[in-house]
């Protein structure tokens, strides 16, 4: 069996999540109150037998570092394998220079000096389930130079705004990558996931450096679509890229528990995360909860409808939480009514009795804020 090196990448400079990303990288964003976004690519790799994983981190590392720690919780043998954090050490004023390739080059020895023959590169800002071992085997079988993952959608006009699309020929060969312009409903959204040989990866890095110091991996591959055999691999099941504030909000609230049981939460495919030793959630007599995910450590005395409640949150009596995403340790005070909001960690909504937004244009309540 080939042994692939796992690389968790950061996003291109067009991606920015207003508000939340000032505090932590997207990889460290909570998902459904229990996970962090990065748990999904790492668990996918771990479950696929990839046990050397490098997580590339561009900015605001603290939250992610705390979450990843030794990586022991991802079920990787800590002697023969590893989970390593690779920090981009220099940043340019002009963000176009701060590419993934620039950071790969910083750690090129760590990529070269492994016995791994292949690389699997997956984004630390997209949530989906995928068996990379199967993808790797199919890639080798096909004889292609590069395999990339895409997801066919029928709502590209309204969503996936900062994502790229793959344009395919009939044989599923990739003709080009282009930014989703929102002009067509049916598009193949690029999942920023690549499988290739390590030699190919190193060649691409070299070539990109020669052509343009602002090139990202996607850009250099796009430039080589005519030369190389690049195959698109269709992904099915739950897929949620986090590329702006709205997509983060939607990712949490679009989850249909019954439907995703088989595509994101498979019994045979555990999603690992770090425990934070919270006690179970407590519901009191006055609790009214419908259609919601509730994380451990929370105390529910009020009403929660179609929402996600993070760890150690307090929903006081008479409070109403609807279509909202609460991060950890949020308090929603007595009689407070919030709707269509993302409430960041440690915030307390006590004095404002009504904060309501249309789910199409959700609001953001700042971390540590008291309102």
């Amino acid at each position: 069996m080939v042994r692939a090196l796992g690389i968790i990448s950061f996003s291109e400079s067009n991606v920015w999540v207003e508000g939340m990303e000032s505090f932590r990288s997207i990889a460290a964003f909570p998902f459904l109150g229990r996970y962090r976004v990065v748990d999904f690519p790492i668990s996918n790799m771990s479950n696929s037998g990839i046990d050397r994983i490098q997580v590339y981190i561009r900015r605001k590392p603290q939250s992610l570092v705390q979450h990843l720690g030794t990586g022991r919780h991802y079920n990787i043998n800590s002697k023969s394998g590893y989970l390593r954090m690779m920090f981009a050490s220099s940043t340019e004023e002009n963000d176009y220079y701060n590419t993934d390739i620039r950071t790969y080059m910083e750690f090129i020895d760590h990529i070269k000096n492994t016995s791994n023959t292949h690389v699997v590169i997956a984004p630390g800002y997209m949530i989906y389930q995928q068996d990379y071992a199967a993808m790797l085997n199919a890639h080798i079988e096909s004889g292609a130079d590069i395999s990339v993952l895409y997801h066919a959608v029928d709502n590209a006009k309204d969503a996936y705004q900062n994502c790229y699309c793959v344009n395919l020929n009939r044989q599923k060969g990739v003709k080009s990558f282009e930014l989703n312009s929102g002009t067509a409903k049916n598009r193949n959204i690029f999942m920023d996931t690549y499988v290739m040989s390590k030699a190919m990866f190193l060649d691409l890095l070299d070539e990109a450096q020669k052509l343009s110091s602002m090139y990202t991996l996607r850009m250099i591959i796009n430039a080589k679509c005519d030369e190389l055999d690049i195959r698109g691999v269709a992904h099915k099941g739950f897929f949620a890229p986090i590329t702006d504030f709205k997509s983060y909000y939607d990712a949490n609230l679009s989850v249909n528990r019954e439907k995703i049981a088989e595509t994101l939460f498979k019994q045979s495919w555990p999603i690992y995360t770090r425990t934070n030793d919270s006690c179970p959630a407590q519901y009191f007599e006055s609790a009214e909860v419908k259609g919601s995910f509730i994380a451990n450590g929370s105390v529910v005395e009020g009403t929660v409808i179609d929402s996600v409640v993070g760890r150690d949150c307090k929903i006081k009596p008479g409070a109403v939480v609807r279509n909202a995403v609460l991060l950890d340790n949020v308090t929603i005070g007595e009689g407070v009514h919030i709707e269509g909001q993302v409430v960041d960690k440690n915030a307390q909504v006590i004095h404002m009795k009504e904060i309501i937004a249309d789910p199409e244009h959700p609001g953001y309540i700042k971390r540590n804020d008291v309102v």
């Binding site: 459904l32 939460f265 995360t273 179970p280 419908k290 509730i294």
Partner: protein
């Protein structure tokens, strides 16, 4: 190397036969509690929080699951360079035959070599099947202040129940124990022993060596070692514990201890971050209450999916209540599934049991809690 001034030994060998089918496959300390915990998480977390680094666990009955559960000690942070959790079943030794632990004291006697290897000044003896939070370092301070040979944690129980316990009669001024009575018919005090002892190791070591040779001894701390120490005029002190403490010896009391968690001020305060109870974190999805679900007065942990009606109940990891089902005044242990339209009342449903559609189990008017340990057909 850090000095391990006090070593803890947890007695976890008991079967807990009054828990019936719950302990057919696992020892009592490994029985689940409070949604995500096992009973032994309490003494182990108390040790970790009290700054105790090395814990020995004396196992005997059905110890496979318990062994794999505690091994490594990482769940409680007891896995640093100088700390560890060690499972100690009876062993065959060069100078003695393989023998079961004949009593609580014998379990320690057979592991004198283990204790000696850490050269502790004090030894803390705990029971693996009690639910409580306690700072053992405070108890050690009292032990040192009293210049005691042994300190025994005691709980004030109602006088009319005192005859069910081992009772310490103390000098009210100093707390020094003058007499110990096992289940006295006419109790003179209501200070019940909690089975938590601190001994000065040098002295206990001597007492244990003598006890091993004593053919009339039942090799038990309460029945033999403590009375022998009192006889010898040693300095034994009672250490009063205040707070939540439960010995979950029966199905009724295990159910009750779970129900206690539903109260706002339950005395155990599992959400208190200054004294966290650590446990295994099983991979599980976030808990979910669907549009058809309803949850009131309940303690629910990750992995649960609630589509039905849950009241006055505690749900363990991964329990599922399907649409139209009702769970009232009950405990659903890990992985229990209550199918559509089924009703569960005043019951404790064991790990992995399925209650079929439309089935009715338990009785709202029953005196005792019903244990459901086998699948129930719909």
């Amino acid at each position: 190397m850090k000095q391990n001034s006090m070593l803890a030994m947890i007695l976890a060998g008991g079967r807990g036969s009054r828990l019936h089918d719950l302990t057919n496959k696992v020892a009592k300390p490994a029985v689940g509690y409070g949604g995500k915990y096992r009973i032994i998480d309490f003494p182990l977390s108390n040790c970790a929080n009290s700054g105790i680094d090395v814990v020995g666990i004396l196992t005997q009955y059905e110890s496979v699951l318990l062994n794999s559960y505690v091994s490594g000690g990482s769940k409680w942070g007891l896995d640093s360079r100088d700390s560890g959790v060690f499972v100690l079943p009876p062993r065959e030794k060069a100078d003695s035959e393989l023998d079961v632990y004949r009593g609580t004291a014998d379990a320690i006697s057979q592991n004198i070599d283990f204790v000696d290897s850490y050269d502790p000044e004090y030894i803390l003896i705990l029971s693996g099947d009690h639910i409580y939070k306690m700072n053992y370092s405070k108890m050690l301070n009292a032990h040192k202040e009293n210049n005691a040979d042994a300190t025994i944690a005691v709980l004030e129980v109602p006088m009319k129940e005192a005859s069910r316990f081992g009772i310490m009669n103390t000098d009210p001024e100093t707390g020094r124990i003058v007499e110990f009575e096992e289940k006295p018919a006419q109790p003179k005090s209501n200070l019940a022993s909690m089975g938590i002892y601190i001994f000065t190791w040098k002295l206990l070591r001597k007492m244990l060596l003598a006890d091993m040779k004593n053919e009339n001894s039942s090799h038990d701390f309460g029945k033999d070692v403590i009375p022998a120490m009192l006889n010898d005029g040693k300095r034994l002190f009672a250490y009063k514990f205040k707070g939540y403490w439960k010995d979950v010896g029966t199905i009724d009391s295990l159910w009750e201890a779970n129900m206690d968690l539903l109260d706002k001020k339950n005395g155990l305060e599992l959400d208190d971050r200054t004294w966290t109870i650590y446990t295994e974190d099983a991979p599980a999805t976030p808990q979910y209450v669907s549009s058809t679900g309803s949850v009131k007065r309940a303690y629910v942990t990750q992995g649960c999916v609630i589509e039905g009606d849950v009241r006055n109940s505690v749900l363990f990891t991964g329990a599922e209540v399907k649409a139209g089902a009702k769970v009232v005044d009950s405990v659903l242990m890990s992985g229990v599934v209550v199918e559509e339209g089924a009703v569960v009342q005043r019951a404790l449903v064991a790990d992995g049991v399925k209650i079929g559609a439309q089935a009715v189990v338990g009785d709202p008017d029953s005196e005792h809690i019903e244990l459901i340990a086998k699948n129930v057909k719909g």
